[in-house]
Structures are given as structure tokens and as C-alpha cells.
């Protein structure tokens, strides 16, 4: 977890996208809640774009 957090910080620094920091925190929080609420997710996308 720590290594991923530090990767995210290094990425924001490299891309000069510090403005993404609060958004990442908020979206990850919402996403985390979705994980807790749903258990596992299997995406029924016609085309997964990620």
C-alpha cells in the first residue's frame, strides 16, 4: 500500500498534476466504499477502456 501511495505521489510530481490529489482521495474513498458495499466486481463492459 505504501509503495503504491509513493508511486502516486511520484506520478503527480512527474506529471505536475498536484490538482489531482484531492480528487484522487475523494474518488478513491468513494471507490473504496463501493468495494466494501459490493464485495467483488466483474465489469460487464462491452469494451473495457482501462
Amino acid at each position: 500500500m505504501f509503495s503504491v501511495a509513493s508511486e502516486l505521489v511520484r506520478y503527480m510530481s512527474a506529471r505536475k498534476k498536484w490538482w489531482l490529489f484531492p480528487i484522487i482521495v475523494v474518488l478513491l474513498t468513494i471507490g473504496g466504499l463501493l468495494v466494501l458495499a459490493k464485495g467483488s466486481a466483474v465489469a460487464p463492459f462491452i469494451y473495457t477502456v482501462f
Binding site: S3, V4, L20, I24, L27, I46, Y47, V49
Partner: protein, 614 residues
């Protein structure tokens, strides 16, 4: 210097190993797991690559992953932010996947790779990441025979880029231009793949094959509404018509209203309208590619073009770019899709992180790809052992006898499985994992499609032609070793059609023989040509040469050794299973020859329903 390239976690996982800038092994994971487009960590493909070179991961200098996950994550977040609240459905599906799994790709890769390293150390330090389109560009440029080239990559989407232009000079490859998400030529094509009832990411070939049956009557609607194409070929897609950026599907209600109906249900029969839609999106795609390539040549004044990315598998468009003549030489990476990203990432790491120059293409080589024969091979003893274990009944023949007997079978109209040497890397079977037929037989296309491949009857088959004879059969005089160029059958080989035959429309055109090699002549007289070179595939070249000596025809029908929805066979056992589950009459594996009539009837299986339609 040994570099392992990996592509994974999206579709078509693969691994590739280059030594001193030269590919020595490459394979897609699906060939081992038997799951089409398998996206999982390519453990079997990596194990094979290391085994082929006789090394462990400890002997590898760098490990290169084909894309940058955090940039992809950035694109996702910015897309959701820009389109909120519309993308919530997609967000709700995507975020759990990222939070539980994809954000941890780097530690996950390190963990998965440890099993290949006896010491278990130093993996994180060796791990490098290339951008998705950089990997595509490197896969084409560094494998090509060019010292200087414009490199055009186009696909659905990577991190942000959906298309890129790079200039390769010597050891350097520099990106000069990109088109960014959500404006994507690949996704425009995929939207029509979905709308015409085919599966996105695999049905694009079918749309391309269907296009010649239709007329491009919707092309102007596409140009007027969906896509704004600029004179330099750059484009902008009107997102009101597309759902892929924020939804769970490809097209919106506005798209359906524009084209007058819902997407075709895959179970519904194809109509002339579907064929016209296919022809229309194909025409627009070709238009964009021609505009881009003409502008690139004008701008950069370089005569060599390299192509990669999923759109570069559109061999009809590639053929038009070649014939257009803006570029004198056009090279397409045989594994142009995401599997080839493994090779490209390794090439990119070699260029950026080593002081060794790129490997040179030798005088007897077309490129560095060794004919794309970079996968596993099986020795004669191993083949016999595996066949005996599978319960196969076979005879063993010397090379000359094997060729003669195989030609007997082809000449009488058999579909012949031909399993020889190293497996191909990339989506095409190029004569080592192929089903072969006699192209002179008018009913061969229908037989192969319906009895052997269990797939739609409209789909065309490709010709394998001796490289030295290509200009005798097709309107092309350059090498096309990877079946990635479409050319017309020579005029003098075409059959004169009666008035009634000329008036046939749509799918009814299928049963009309159009040349003296009807099984590989599409309804518009085009063919997806594979030139066969003695330097890269001596056995296949010898077989076609003998077929020509016997029949006067230097062409064979070549289709991949699999059925609809199945990955191409990888091992002798896969080949035997496919042989016993289909209407194939003869199978040649190494020097073993199998006849269906001699096999144990208890081993015959119903193969058609084992794989989900693609």
C-alpha cells in the same frame, strides 16, 4: 543484454524476449491456456520465453511492461471528472477493479515474476514501463529493416493516446504527435463492430470481411455527424454518439436514431444494411489513414512508413496505403495488436536503457521477426510421443514423401491441418499452425467456413503464395509475409462474369467463382496475401513449390488452425483435438501424417460448441 517484454491485464497477454536487440522468443498466453484473448499475467508465455533462451529471470537485465498503469488511471479519473455525473455507472464498475487490483499492478507484477527467479531478488529494480503507443511504435520500427521511418500507431486507446506519430532514426524513436482519448479511430471501428452485432475486440475482422458485400451509403452520414476529419487526417469524434467513455456499451441512442435502428442482435441474420454499414466505416477508416499518411510524407519527407496498433491489422486499409504510393515502403508489425506491445516494450527498453545499438537486419532477412515464427516448436520424437498419448493413429514419412502425400490430399479437395516448426507470434497463422486447402476448388471457402471453422460463410480466406510468384497472381510486387496487405487478384486470372452474376447483390455474390483461384478471391476480387519465403519458412515454401509442380498453381488457401472462438492451436495435442472435432480430413504434424478415416471413432468429439462465438 537480455530484455523480457510483457503485455497483460487488458487483452491478449503475451511475453517476448530479445537478446542484444534481436527477438528470440515471443508468444501469446492464450495459446497455452486455450482462453481466447486471455488477459491474465502471461506465466506460460514467460516460462516459454525463458526456456527457449535457456535462462532464468535472474539472467534477464530488464523487464519491460507495455504500458503505464498510473497514466491510465489518470485518464479514467479525468474522464469521470469531466463527464460527471454521467459516468457514474462506469465509475462504479471500474473503481473497485482499480482499488482492489489494477492500482497494485507493479507490486503484483513483482510478486508474479518472483516464481521465475531462483534468487527472488532485484526484480523491482529491473522493472521498466513504456507507454502503450511507444510500445506499439517500437514493435514496428525496431523490428523493421529501416534506418529511418515515420511510425504511425493507431488503436482503441492506450493511456491517453489513441494514435501517435513517431520518427525513428537509427537507435532513436521520438514521438512527435498524438491524438488523445476519447477521439479514436479504433473505437469508431469498434462502435460499428458492436452496432453490426459482432463482438468488440475480435469482430473487427468480420466487419472488414463483410465490407465488400456492401456499398458505403452511410459514409457521408458518418463524416457529417460522427467524425470531423481534418485535411491532415487528424480527427475528432462527437461524443454524443458514443457511450464507451462513460457508459458500459459502445453507442448511444443518438447513434441508433442516426442510423435508423438498434444494434443487430448477434443471433439475427445479417442484412444488406449491416453490409452497407461495414462498407461505410471501412471507407471512412481508409479515408482517414490515407489523409494521415499523405500528410506525414509531405511533412517529414521520409519514404519509409511503419504501422502498428490494432488499426494496423486492417489489411484492406494497409493495402490502400501501400498502393497510394505516398510512402515507397510500408512495414506492418505482424503482432500489431496488444500482444506485440510485449515485444515493443522490450525494444523500447533496449533503446533507452542500454548503450547497445539496435540489431541489424541481415542481408538474408526481411526484418528482425524471423517470419514471426517466434513461438514453441516440437521435435519429431516429442510429437510422436504426444500423439501416441493422445490415441492418434499416424504414419511417419520423410520430407519428400510427406509433401507428396499432403499434396495428394490437397489435390483431391481435403482440408489439411499443417502443424510444423515454431508457432507464429501475432494473430495470423502463417503456415506453421495452419489449415490448408486447394484455392482452385470453388466450394473450398464454404467447406472450410462451415465444416471446419464453424464460422460465418461470408468470411474470406487468405492465399499463401510463393514470394517469387506473387506478381503472377496479385496486383502487388512487394513482400507481404504477414498477411497484412490486401491486393487484387490479377486481371488476367479473373473470370468473366455473366450479366446475371454481375447483378447479384450482397451475400448472394458469395457463390460466384471470380478467378482461377476462387477460394481466395473475395467478392471485390481482393485477397489478403501472404508471401512465403524460403528464408523464413523452408518447409511451407517447399510444400507450395511441390504443389505448383504438380498442379501448376503456386498458391494455397491458408487459414488459422482453430475453430471459431478458439485460440490457434499451440501443441500437437491441441492440433489433434481440433482435427478430431472438425471436418478436417488430413493432418500433418512434423513428419507424422494422420488421416481421419484411420482414427479411432471414439475420439471424435463435437467441437463446435466448445468455444463461445467470437
Amino acid at each position: 543484454m537480455r530484455i523480457l517484454g510483457i503485455s497483460a491485464f487488458y487483452h491478449d497477454s503475451a511475453a517476448a524476449l530479445i537478446i542484444d536487440g534481436r527477438p528470440v522468443a515471443a508468444a501469446q498466453e492464450e495459446r497455452f491456456t486455450r482462453i481466447k484473448h486471455d488477459p491474465r499475467f502471461p506465466e506460460n508465455a514467460i516460462a516459454y520465453c525463458l526456456q527457449e533462451a535457456g535462462v532464468t529471470l535472474d539472467d534477464i537485465d530488464h523487464i519491460a511492461f507495455f504500458e503505464k498503469p498510473l497514466l491510465k488511471f489518470e485518464r479514467l479519473l479525468e474522464t469521470y471528472l469531466a463527464t460527471a455525473p454521467h459516468g457514474f455507472n462506469s465509475f462504479r464498475m471500474a473503481m473497485p477493479l482499480w482499488i482492489k487490483d489494477k492500482l497494485f499492478q507493479k507490486p503484483g507484477l513483482v510478486r508474479d515474476l518472483k516464481r521465475f527467479s531462483p534468487s527472488g531478488k532485484g526484480i523491482e529494480e529491473k522493472l521498466l514501463f513504456a507507454e502503450h503507443h511507444e510500445s506499439h511504435a517500437a514493435s514496428a520500427y525496431y523490428a523493421s529493416p529501416f534506418d529511418e521511418a515515420v511510425v504511425l500507431t493507431m488503436d482503441g486507446v492506450g493511456e491517453w493516446a489513441t494514435s501517435s506519430v513517431a520518427i525513428g532514426r537509427g537507435n532513436a524513436l521520438e514521438t512527435v504527435k498524438e491524438i488523445h482519448w476519447p477521439h479514436s479511430l479504433g473505437l469508431l471501428y469498434s462502435a460499428f463492430t458492436y452496432y453490426t452485432g459482432f463482438r468488440v475486440n475480435s469482430g473487427e475482422y468480420k466487419v472488414m470481411g463483410l465490407a465488400p458485400y456492401g456499398t458505403p451509403r452511410f459514409a457521408s452520414i458518418i463524416r457529417d455527424n460522427l467524425i470531423d476529419i481534418r485535411p491532415d487526417g487528424s480527427f475528432w469524434l462527437d461524443q454524443r454518439y458514443f457511450d464507451y467513455a462513460t457508459g458500459l456499451t459502445m453507442t448511444t441512442e443518438a447513434f441508433h436514431r442516426l442510423f435508423g435502428g438498434k444494434p443487430r442482435d448477434p443471433d439475427q441474420p445479417l442484412t444488406q444494411r449491416d453490409m452497407d454499414l461495414a462498407a461505410s466505416v471501412q471507407a471512412v477508416t481508409e479515408d482517414v489513414m490515407l489523409k494521415i499518411t499523405r500528410d506525414l510524407h509531405r511533412t517529414h519527407g521520409i519514404d519509409n512508413l511503419c504501422l502498428a496498433g490494432g488499426v494496423a491489422l486492417n489489411c484492406v486499409a494497409n493495402g490502400k496505403v501501400l498502393r497510394d504510393g505516398a510512402f515507397k515502403n510500408v512495414y506492418v508489425q505482424p503482432a500489431a495488436g496488444d500482444a506485440g506491445g510485449a515485444l515493443g516494450a522490450a525494444f523500447a527498453a533496449h533503446a533507452r536503457h542500454t548503450s547497445t545499438p539496435r540489431a541489424e537486419v541481415l542481408p538474408n532477412e526481411l526484418d528482425l521477426m524471423s517470419g514471426a515464427y517466434l513461438g514453441p516448436a516440437f521435435g519429431q520424437d516429442e510429437i510422436e510421443g504426444r500423439l501416441i498419448k493422445s490415441g492418434a493413429r499416424f504414419t511417419v514419412h520423410g520430407d519428400d514423401d510427406l509433401y507428396a502425400r499432403t499434396i495428394d490430399c490437397l489435390d483431391r479437395g481435403d482440408a489439411v491441418g499443417w502443424f510444423q516448426g515454431r508457432m507464429e507470434f501475432g494473430p495470423r497463422a502463417l503456415g506453421n499452425r495452419s489449415i490448408l486447402g486447394d484455392p482452385r476448388k470453388p466450394d473450398m471457402q464454404k467447406t472450410l467456413n462451415l465444416k471446419i471453422k464453424f464460422r460465418e460463410s461470408f468470411r474470406p480466406f487468405a492465399p499463401s503464395v510463393l514470394a517469387e510468384d506473387v506478381a503472377d497472381y496479385f496486383e502487388i510486387d512487394v513482400a507481404s509475409p504477414y498477411m497484412l496487405m490486401v491486393a487484387d487478384v490479377k486481371r488476367n486470372r479473373r473470370r468473366h462474369l455473366s450479366t446475371e452474376e454481375k447483378l447479384l447483390f450482397g451475400i448472394n455474390q458469395l457463390n460466384v467463382p471470380r478467378s482461377d483461384i476462387p477460394a481466395v478471391t473475395h467478392v471485390d476480387h481482393s485477397a489478403r496475401v501472404q508471401t512465403v519465403h524460403a528464408e523464413t519458412n523452408a518447409r511451407y515454401h517447399a510444400l507450395i513449390s511441390r504443389f505448383k509442380e504438380r498442379t501448376g498453381c503456386g498458391v494455397l488457401v491458408n487459414t488459422s488452425f482453430n475453430v471459431r472462438g478458439e485460440p490457434i492451436v499451440g501443441s500437437p495435442e491441441d492440433a489433434f483435438r481440433c482435427f478430431m472435432g472438425t471436418g478436417m480430413e488430413t493432418l500433418a504434424i512434423g513428419n507424422c501424417l494422420l488421416s481421419k478415416a484411420n482414427q479411432n471413432p471414439d475420439l471424435v468429439s463435437d467441437y463446435s460448441a466448445q468455444f463461445a462465438p467470437d
